[in-house]
């Protein structure tokens, strides 16, 4: 009796779709993974924010332990942002000014384009002017930061330290470095 031939759907590809389907899935998954890697690489802020939160938590623990012994400990605000390089502000100024100018121009062109669907539509001018104003103001602000940079007044510092005008500042990485960033200020005394 002849031995029954064993089939292998991959090698034989009897269905004719199995291999392409498998390969297709592989290609799609590979693509997704590459994209995910790229996004993760481009957005490191999440990691920095997490490290900032951990440094703040660690400082809280040190302050609590030291407080039990009547010692006050202070350290920097680890969740604060810092000034970006001057060139970044100047570069951003150009970009924002261009976007604002572009928005205004586009609005005006659409308003005056007799052949266009938005001819004499006041909304387009309004939108263009609004966008130009917003981007223009931001560009001015960025230009100001680019020129005066760190020599700016207190309110500007606060703005940079608390908004995206500033960049996230990584907290001390090594435990020893973190420890050195803390300082004992004075022993707690009884208040009179």
């Amino acid at each position: 009796m002849p031995e029954a031939r064993r089939t292998d759907p991959v090698r034989d590809d009897e269905l004719g779709v199995f291999v392409p389907a498998l390969m297709g899935v592989g290609v799609i998954v590979s693509g997704v993974l590459v994209l995910a890697d790229w996004v993760t690489h481009l957005l490191p802020n999440g990691r920095v924010r997490r490290r900032q939160r951990l440094a703040t938590g660690a400082k809280g623990l040190v302050v609590s332990v030291a407080g039990a012994a009547g010692v006050d400990v202070v350290g920097p605000d680890y969740e604060i942002r810092e000034w970006r390089p001057r060139l970044v502000y100047l570069g951003a100024t150009v970009v924002f000014a261009a976007v604002g100018g572009g928005a205004l121009a586009a609005g005006l062109i659409a308003y005056n384009d007799e052949a266009g669907l938005l001819y004499r539509n006041p909304w387009m001018v309004g939108l263009g002017v609004g966008a130009a104003a917003v981007f223009g103001l931001l560009a001015l602000q960025l230009l100001f930061f680019g020129i005066v940079h760190r020599r700016s007044f207190r309110a500007a510092h606060v703005l940079v330290e608390t908004t995206w005008f500033g960049r996230l500042k990584p907290p001390p990485d090594a435990p020893g470095e973190f420890a050195r960033s803390l300082r004992v200020v004075k022993p707690k005394g009884k208040k009179r």
């Binding site: 498998l22 899935v25 951990l54 440094a55 660690a58 012994a69 400990v73 435990p175």
Partner: protein
């Protein structure tokens, strides 16, 4: 009314020397939220004042120094003592205060007066039933008489006899009296959280209808019940239909035991308000103490198997009472937290996970096995591999592995993911915090006692957290490492899987760890200042006590070197393991370490994990089958390699987390050690301690109480603990796995042949002389290139690894500290070698092969020829 001689037991803390052992214990119960009837205590100060004002001291001196009465005179003697106390005049202010206090309670209902002596409810002498208790008092005068009788019971002939038998001193004894509202009990009785006469796995309950005094006095035969501690299944010889509360009672009792850390003898009552706890004290009659038991050992009994493996890295050798009482609850809690997180908390209910036998720390292997089996895909054999280095029953391995359906597996995987997700963050958080605390440089000598204790409590809180992190990280590391082994095993075979997993995870020793961090810093200093300066080298290796002066005499180069060493000591000087000394205490360790760098060595570089990964990837890629699968599945990027990298990263991450958590614990140990030394110094100055080194013989609680003014633990008791610890040290290590009493186990056969076999932990071959080390302190005798033979190591041993030529240990598995560090340092290492310290002798020549796990003992003749 303001009381000078009384205080309410409201859970705000009381000192046993003021309120007696029983009241102090009741106060703790209140503080822990257990249901306790309202109570106050007439303090020991009242007793002392009464004795002084009534001039009873000569009479008491006669009782202290005179002989005990013969048996037929006991009743008369007792009546004589009572008569003296009843007839003695009482100061008006004291009497007024006692009447005022009992009046407050009598306004609500009948009261009880219970003795609470300052020498009572001790770990090994409970004085159970020796002192008087009066129930159902309804009139102030009656209550006042009861108080006097309670005082008198301190000197009854049976109590004097008990004290002398137990060797308890009689100087400055005092008696406080608890005034307590009577519980309107429908049932009352006593409960032992471990049956003193039967199985230690049973709770014993005795109950009578109404008040419990008939039971205590033996006037009625109680209903008896035995309750299984694990399942709370009730067995009884009486009618239990009306005692539906027994299970709840057992739960409360186990919680009390858990808080107290020792089996408890509990008086209870069932009232309209529910279960009320009248008192709780340690059981002292469960069994006579074993010769090695200092009073802190786990009670023997039950069917659970214990192993010292895996825990001895954290708590090495014989653990004195102080270290045990500090660490054991934290470790126990850490395991329970982990079990909670992964959803297997049920297996550990009413069972201990951490045990102590012959003074040595152990893990409950049975609980760990059951926890593993409860997890889908887990098996007892995996736990045994992790802790013992091998499965005890290799044949039963796969069949034991629990499967679970897809949903259960997914749920378990999700729980594990959730538990592990925050692990690295938590390790980072605590590591940073610990280093911040270590650099605080607080002047402990200036802190008042309560502030010192508060500071220590905060440190302890952090230590609890780190212990939990360390246990979780160890578990995650073990799982990730095993997954890596299995995955590579699928591609290349099991043996290759084991080998590659080792190589790929080398280099996980954290730079911030105690050993590596400070040793690397010293090495750097050595390279910059000493390596090229022969004069400095000579002064350093001279081994003379005036080494520092000789170095300073070398001029600017010497001064600069010393300055850097001092800076390094300042940075790392406070770090220690609990068992070891810090550099701040003893600089010899620094000089020894620096001298070791001066000795020539020809060690091969350690395993480079990055290079190993590249090699493995190359090996896999060369396979045509591998390439074919990649093409056929359309992998533009090789997802299997990506998965491999991810698995390696994960295993490395968790191993690093574990090492860092362990190191953080050790650094914090240095801080806690400083506090304990400060406490010891104060207790020595106040006369509570004869010698500050005795501090390790006390429990944590005893130390705290003494610092707050409590009486010292009796010297006979301390002596007994010391003797038991010394005997435990002499008794040698525990068996690898044991059930019940480790002392009952037959001695295992010692491996003594020319070739010994162990677990291959770090590749490489070395032939050198053996140095058997039983403790870290003996490490100073280690000569460069010698092979360390020891029971186990912990991170504090890391400096020795730089000097050694190889490692042979009786304990350890793939994830033990020794294995990781040995691979990092390129040291051949064989672990899990049974009886290595007993069969190998110092000076004997060994040839160890870290790739095969074989150890060849070179005969003396051959050695001499060579």
């Amino acid at each position: 009314m303001e009381y000078h001689y009384a205080q309410f037991l409201d859970g705000h803390g009381s000192v046993a020397t003021d309120v007696g052992g029983k009241a102090s214990s009741l106060d703790r119960l209140v503080a822990d939220g257990f249901p306790v009837p309202r109570a106050a205590v007439i303090t020991a100060r009242a007793y002392r004042s009464f004795v002084r004002d009534a001039a009873l001291e000569p009479f008491l001196k006669e009782l202290r120094e005179g002989p005990l009465p013969p048996a037929d005179q006991i009743v008369a003697d007792r009546e004589r003592v009572e008569a003296e106390f009843l007839a003695a005049p009482m100061a008006a202010d004291l009497e007024e205060e006692i009447l005022g206090l009992v009046g407050e309670f009598l306004a609500i209902g009948p009261i009880a007066a219970r003795s609470s002596a300052t020498a009572e409810d001790m770990v090994n002498a409970s004085f159970a039933g020796q002192y008087e208790t009066f129930l159902g008092l309804t009139a102030p005068d009656e209550a006042l008489d009861a108080v006097r009788r309670c005082w008198a019971s301190l000197w009854s002939p049976q109590v004097r006899s008990y004290r002398r038998r137990e060797g308890i001193g009689e100087d400055d004894l005092a008696m406080a009296v608890i005034i307590q509202s009577m519980a309107d009990a429908s049932w009352a009785g006593v409960l032992f959280t471990r049956d003193p006469q039967g199985s230690a796995l049973d709770i014993k309950v005795e109950a009578v209808p109404g008040l419990g005094d008939d039971l205590v006095s033996g006037r009625v035969t109680p209903h008896g019940f035995l309750i299984d501690r694990a399942t709370l299944v009730i067995r009884s010889r009486g009618d239990r239909s009306r005692l539906g509360f027994l299970e709840d009672l057992a739960r409360v009792a186990l919680r009390i035991e858990n808080r107290a850390g020792a089996p408890q003898d509990i008086e209870w009552a069932m009232t309209r308000k529910g279960i009320q706890i009248l008192q709780a004290r340690p059981i002292t009659v469960a069994r006579p103490l074993a010769i090695h038991d200092d009073g802190f050992d786990t009670r023997v009994g039950g069917s659970d198997e214990y192993t010292p493996r895996g825990i001895s890295e954290m708590l090495p050798g014989v653990v004195p009472p102080l270290l045990w009482s500090i660490n054991a609850p934290m470790l126990e809690d850490a395991f329970r937290s982990l079990f909670d997180a992964i959803g297997v908390s049920g297996v550990a209910e009413h069972r201990r996970i951490i045990g102590r036998f012959r003074g040595r720390a152990t893990l409950n292997l049975s609980v760990l096995r059951e926890a593993a089996v409860s997890l889908p895909g887990g098996s007892a054999a995996e736990v045994e591999r992790q802790y013992l280095g091998r499965a005890l029953d290799p044949d039963g391995d796969e069949s034991e592995a629990s499967s679970g359906n897809l949903f259960k597996r997914a749920a378990a995987a999700f729980r594990n993911w959730r538990a592990n997700r925050v692990l690295a963050d938590e390790v980072r958080l605590v590591t940073h915090a610990v280093h911040g605390i270590a650099e605080l440089d607080i002047n402990l000598a200036k802190l008042p006692a309560r502030r010192l204790l508060r500071y220590r409590a905060r440190i302890r809180d952090l230590a609890w957290r780190i212990y939990a992190t360390e246990v979780a990280a160890s578990s995650a590391a073990a799982a990730a490492y095993r997954a890596l082994e299995v995955q590579i095993g699928r591609w290349l075979g099991d043996a290759e899987g084991v080998l590659w997993a080792q190589r790929l995870t080398a280099g996980t020793l954290a730079e911030s760890s105690v050993g590596a961090g400070r040793v690397n810093r010293l090495k750097d200093i050595y390279q910059r200042h000493v390596a090229d300066t022969p004069a400095l080298q000579a002064a350093l290796t001279s081994g003379r006590p005036d080494r520092r002066e000789r170095i300073a005499a070398l001029g600017a180069r010497g001064e600069a070197f010393l300055e850097e060493v001092d800076l390094c000591v300042r940075a790392f000087g406070a770090q220690a393991v609990y068992g070891g000394r810090t550099w701040n205490e003893d600089l010899l360790g620094v000089w020894n370490q620096l001298s070791a760098f001066a000795r020539p060595g020809d060690r091969e570089p350690g395993v480079d994990s990055e290079q190993s990964l590249a090699e493995l990837i190359e090996l896999l890629k060369q396979s045509r089958r591998w390439q074919f699968k990649r093409i056929i599945t359309g992998q533009l990027i090789d997802m299997r390699l990506r998965m491999l990298r991810r698995m390696v990263d994960e295993a490395t991450l968790y191993l690093r987390c574990r090492e860092e958590a362990k190191s953080a614990l050790l650094v914090l140990g240095g801080t806690e050690r400083a506090v304990i030394f400060e406490m010891a110094n104060r207790l020595t100055a106040s006369g509570h301690l004869a010698y500050s080194g005795d501090v390790e013989l006390f429990s944590d609680g005893e130390l705290e109480q003494m610092l707050l003014g409590a009486e010292p633990v009796f010297s006979q008791e301390l002596e007994r603990r010391r003797r038991a610890l010394n005997r435990a040290k002499d008794a040698g290590p525990l068996p690898e796995v044991f059930q019940g009493d480790p002392d009952q186990r037959t001695a295992e056969v010692v491996q003594s042949g020319p070739v010994m076999q162990g677990w291959a932990a770090s590749p490489g071959v070395v032939r050198a002389k053996a140095r058997v080390l039983t403790s870290l302190e003996e490490g100073t005798t280690l000569e460069p290139g010698e092979i360390i033979v020891a029971h186990s190591t912990d991170p504090s041993w890391t400096p020795l690894f730089l000097v050694a030529g190889g490692i042979v240990l009786e304990e350890g598995g793939p994830l033990s500290h020794a294995a990781i560090v040995a691979r990092e340092f390129g040291l051949p290492a064989v672990l899990n070698v049974k009886d290595a310290t007993r069969s190998i002798t110092t000076g004997e020549e060994l040839l160890i092969d870290g790739s095969s796990g074989a150890i060849r003992r070179i005969p003396a003749r051959e050695s001499a020829d060579a």
